[in-house]
């Protein structure tokens, strides 16, 4: 894994915070009033089309990461883990789920950066809805540890906890 990819991957997963560009201070050359509502760096790349809104940050991170050669291997690994977790949830084998989540921490692969939203909904969210309490609890515990570990991009785990956090 090249250092460039490693760094980009950590930022994309939310393990490290991305460096924040300093905002321009107010000055006499700024035409917009001080109570500006639109961030200055929001849309510098629009090719002049209507309503071309900024994409979610995680998509931007995924696009940037996908330019590295190592990305495809990471993505395949994440897809395999998701399928395995999905089948374990389906078969309701708590011990196997706990073992798997201990061996492969979710914060390292369960992310929109590697997985499509549709796959996540079908393989994880739907299976969580169908599975039993102990299995959900195992996944929620993993989500909690991920929430503690991650510095950003915790939306997916927050969603799981919000939905099934009281499963125990």
């Amino acid at each position: 894994m090249t250092p460039g990819y490693e760094q980009a991957r950590r930022i994309a997963l939310g393990l490290t915070r991305a460096p924040v560009a300093a905002n321009d201070s107010e000055n006499m050359w700024e035409v917009m009033p001080s109570n500006r509502t639109v961030p200055l760096l929001e849309t510098p790349f629009q090719f002049f089309v209507r309503d071309f809104a900024a994409p979610p940050e995680v998509l931007a991170q995924r696009a940037a990461l996908s330019l590295f050669d190592e990305y495809e291997a990471d993505r395949n690994r994440a897809v395999n883990f998701l399928l395995r977790l999905s089948s374990l949830l389906h078969s309701r084998t708590v011990e196997s789920i706990e073992t798997m989540l201990m061996e492969t921490p979710v914060w390292d692969w369960l992310s929109y950066v590697f997985l499509d939203e549709q796959d996540l909904n079908e393989q994880l969210i739907n299976e969580l809805a169908k599975t039993d309490g102990p299995c959900r609890r195992a996944v929620c515990n993993a989500a909690k540890s991920a929430m503690e570990r991650l510095e950003a991009h915790r939306e997916l785990f927050a969603q799981i906890l919000a939905q099934y956090g009281d499963a125990q």
Binding site: G4, D24, N27, M28, W29, E30, V31, M32, R36, V38, L40, L41, E42, T43, P44, F45, Q46, F47, F48, V49, R50, D51, F52, A54, P55, E57, L59, A60, Q61, R62, A63, A64, S66, L67, Y71, E72
Partner: protein
């Protein structure tokens, strides 16, 4: 440099004088040298060779001494008078007996000896004689001389020790008692020698108290032990000894004077050298800049140099001086645009050139080329007017220019009065002709006089107040300030040029009370220009079509600094290097379709980002105040937004050298006549993948179009997804229309616009005779054609690609 040279010559003369005096060696000096060498040799125990000794004494002295005496003579001064060259007067100090005794007993020298064992001053005379062998020898004239003491101490151990064998030559003793015995023997022997030769100095009590003091401090003294004598200053080493005249007050006075002169010369020389080096550095920097501007015009630097030297005349820039005389006409002349760009970067204060620039400031030039030229002239004039201008003088120049303007106005009034009188007389003449009155002789004479006067006045008035001001050395900053603020009388590029020209000076002296009001006005004008709702407000990078990447980089930097002086932009030359390397042919796009820079601070006006085929504004040019003053004309301004680079780039794209490159590629694809947005987006996406992989420092996350397409099409775009791309483009650009439908829609739109124009013309009460022309063939045909062609082109442009085209683009994404 002259001062420095003179100082150096003075110093050289002084040095020669000194050397000259030392080179003439007389007999007295030779004897003095001999005495000095003898004194020096005592420290090494080799002084016997300089002394006249008996054979027996010579034999004893030539034997190596058993104990080293550590006898070192200091503070030696020898003097030989010219009248008696064989007699040498000497003064010196010899070591005290206590220290010498301890040194002999311990076989070490102590650096603190002189502190605890008093040195003994001796003075006297020596004589120099020549022996039978022709050798020059020294003979002491009295008994108490240092050479006698030296010889006596050399012989210790042979006869003078009463307890033979007590003293260990290595200074190591088996017991304290052996050491004490050795010390006692040495003290006795040494004091005996001193007592014999310098009897007054070794009295019992004195020696005893000194010995007690030495013993009491021996612990400290011991720490300063050294196996050898410290280096002794040579008896002949001091300049003062060598040349006693150095001590004279007169010499010291002159030496101080000369030293001060040398210091002054050196300081002045260093100053001039610093100035010279600084000038060289500046010249080098200018030359490099100049080289860039030479390449801006695709003219070799030498040719440009010669051209300027011929056309400008008294140019003061060294680098622009012709190498040899050239006949005018042999070299090409530069146009006003090239000169204006050159003067922007290298302002000068030549009035002739400034007048030339003033004369090219046109009011609202219709022609794009003239507008570009006028803009750069305004910029160059701003730079020239502010070159070397003190901020304290701004107000003075403003007042002088105001006075000139008033005087000019008076002359204009006078001209109008004369002209009116002439018109009146001519009308009267016509009346008389009709009524057959013959009395017109006097009137005709008056008319002739008035005609002559009018011609003279016209000649005087040919130069406006600006040209007059420049000719008289007044710097009409106010004029440029008004130009920057007046969007009615001047084109946008002229306004921008005036701002570009003034801003470096205004920002540099922004806190000065005379400058800050001007700056405030310019900032306000800039804000109004950006905030105007015409949706046409931007800063343009207009350059000649033959501009090179270096020249374009420089011009881009100028415009960006003007567009937002508070921002830090990337090196524009680096941007251009990247752009031309990755998009060959991009210069053609940039020079034919000027980049438009917009400030996203004005994001409230989303119009900047909305695609419309054209932008239309209705302008009323008037003499202030608004709604009251005389309207000069009413006209349309239409911009074709379907052309490449027409919509404008966010100036924040230029804060990094990478961000703007994909956008330029997108526009370049359109420039290469690919008007299919789906195709261009796919090409741009493939370029982005290539570009971001090559330049890892670039940040693809900021490129939203890339982010969308990367997630939509995948890392390796899937040809099966071609329809997804088409749908995305259609969402934002709409379906392609057949030409006849587009024409019909455009005609309806123009009709609607004409109706509104007509309604305005009918209801307007402010100078109703000046109406807006209708958008018809009879009215404003140019604007009508622009609106029609842009609208139809935009509506009929294809927005879909087939799967086959998609595959082709993946293979060959660069436009051919």
């Amino acid at each position: 440099m002259k001062h420095f040279a003179s100082a150096m010559i003075n110093a050289l003369l002084l040095l020669l004088f000194v050397i000259g005096t030392s080179c003439s060696r007389s007999e007295s000096e030779q004897n003095e040298d001999l005495a000095g060498q003898a004194f020096d040799a005592m420290a090494e125990g080799k002084a016997a060779q300089y002394l006249l000794l008996t054979e027996e004494e010579q034999a004893v002295a030539s034997r190596p001494p058993r104990y080293r005496s550590y006898f070192h003579v200091q503070d030696v001064q020898v003097h030989v008078s010219e009248s008696e060259p064989d007699t040498i007067h000497y003064e010196c100090t010899v070591p005290g007996p206590v220290g010498v005794a301890f040194c002999i007993a311990t076989a070490r020298y102590y650096l603190l000896n002189d502190q605890f064992s008093r040195r003994i001053p001796i003075s006297g005379y020596l004589r120099v004689i020549t022996d039978d062998d022709g050798r020059r020898c020294i003979v002491p004239t009295d008994k108490s001389n240092p050479f006698a003491l030296y010889l006596a101490l050399q012989r210790i151990g042979d006869n003078d020790f009463t307890v033979t064998g007590t003293v260990n030559p290595q200074g190591d003793y088996q017991s304290d008692s052996a050491f004490v015995a050795a010390l006692s023997a040495a003290t006795v022997a040494v004091s005996d020698a001193y007592g014999r030769i310098i009897p007054g100095w070794v009295e019992g009590d004195t020696l005893k108290s000194e010995l007690e003091n030495y013993v009491a401090n021996f612990g400290e003294i011991l720490r300063s032990a050294s196996p050898n004598l410290p280096p002794l200053p040579s008896a002949r080493s001091g300049l003062l000894n060598r040349w006693p005249w150095l001590k004279s007050k007169q010499f010291i006075f002159w030496a101080v004077v000369v030293a001060l002169l040398i210091i002054a010369g050196v300081v002045k020389g260093a100053y001039y050298l610093g100035v010279k080096i600084n000038n060289r550095v500046q010249e080098h920097r200018r030359a490099r800049q100049f080289s860039a501007y030479g390449s801006l015009f695709h003219i070799p630097q030498n040719t440009l140099t010669l051209a300027l030297s011929c056309t400008v005349g008294a140019f003061d820039w060294d680098v622009m001086q012709p190498k040899h005389n050239q006949h005018a006409g042999e070299t090409p002349d530069l146009g006003i645009l090239e000169k204006a760009i050159l003067f922007t970067f290298r302002p000068a204060v030549f009035r002739r050139e400034m007048v030339n620039l003033c004369r090219n400031l046109e009011k609202k030039p219709a022609d794009n080329a003239k507008a570009m030229s006028a803009g750069w002239c305004a910029c160059a004039l701003g730079r020239c007017l502010t070159r070397g201008l003190s901020p304290h003088k701004v107000q003075t120049h403003r007042k002088r220019f105001d006075r000139l303007q008033k005087r000019f106005q008076k002359e204009v009034d006078h001209y109008v009065a004369v002209r009116d009188e002439l018109v009146g007389l001519r009308q009267a003449n016509i009346q008389d002709l009709i009524s057959n009155t013959k009395d017109t002789k006097r009137r005709n004479s008056r008319i002739k006089k008035l005609q002559t006067k009018l011609q003279k006045l016209e000649k005087t008035l040919r130069d406006g107040p600006v040209v007059r001001a420049v000719r008289r050395g007044v710097r009409p900053i106010t004029y440029l300030e008004k130009m920057a603020c007046d969007m009615h009388s001047h084109s946008k590029f002229e306004q921008q040029g005036a701002m570009m020209g003034l801003l470096p000076f205004l920002i540099k002296h922004s806190r000065h009370k005379q400058v800050s009001p001007v700056l405030e006005n310019v900032v306000k004008a800039r804000n109004e220009m950006i905030s105007s709702d015409s949706e046409m407000s931007f800063f343009e990078v207009r350059v000649p079509t033959y501009c090179t990447k270096e020249g374009y980089g420089v011009a881009l930097g100028e415009v960006l600094r003007c567009a937002n002086p508070s921002m830090t932009f990337a090196d524009t030359n680096q941007i251009m290097e990247l752009a031309t390397a990755e998009i060959p042919g991009v210069l053609s796009l940039l020079t034919h379709y000027p980049l438009r820079i917009i400030d996203p601070g004005n994001r409230e006006k989303e119009g900047f980002y909305k695609f419309t085929p054209f932008r239309h504004a209705l302008w009323t040019q008037y003499v202030p105040p608004k709604d009251e003053g005389q309207v000069i004309r009413r006209y349309h301004e239409v911009l074709d937004m379907t052309l490449p680079n027409s919509t404008g780039l966010n100036l924040r794209l230029f804060t990094s050298p990478y961000d703007v490159i994909p956008v330029l590629f997108h526009e370049y694809c359109h420039h290469m006549e690919d008007n299919n947005e789906a195709s261009v987006f796919l090409r741009t996406h493939m370029f982005c993948q290539y570009f971001y992989r090559k330049y890892r420092a670039a940040d693809p996350k900021k490129n939203f179009a890339f982010v969308y397409l990367q997630n939509l099409l995948g890392t390796t775009p899937d040809p099966e997804k071609y329809d997804k791309l088409n749908n995305l483009i259609l969402t934002y650009y709409g379906e392609q229309e057949p030409e006849h439908v587009a024409e019909k829609k455009t005609d309806l739109m123009v009709d609607e616009m004409n109706k509104q124009i007509l309604m305005f013309n009918q209801t307007n009460r402010w100078c109703p005779d000046k109406t807006f022309p209708l958008l018809t063939n009879e009215g404003d045909k140019t604007s009508l054609d622009t609106i029609r062609s842009a609208s139809i082109r935009a509506a009929t442009a294809p927005r879909r690609i087939t799967q086959q085209e998609f595959n082709e683009r993946l293979e060959n994404w660069r436009p051919q």
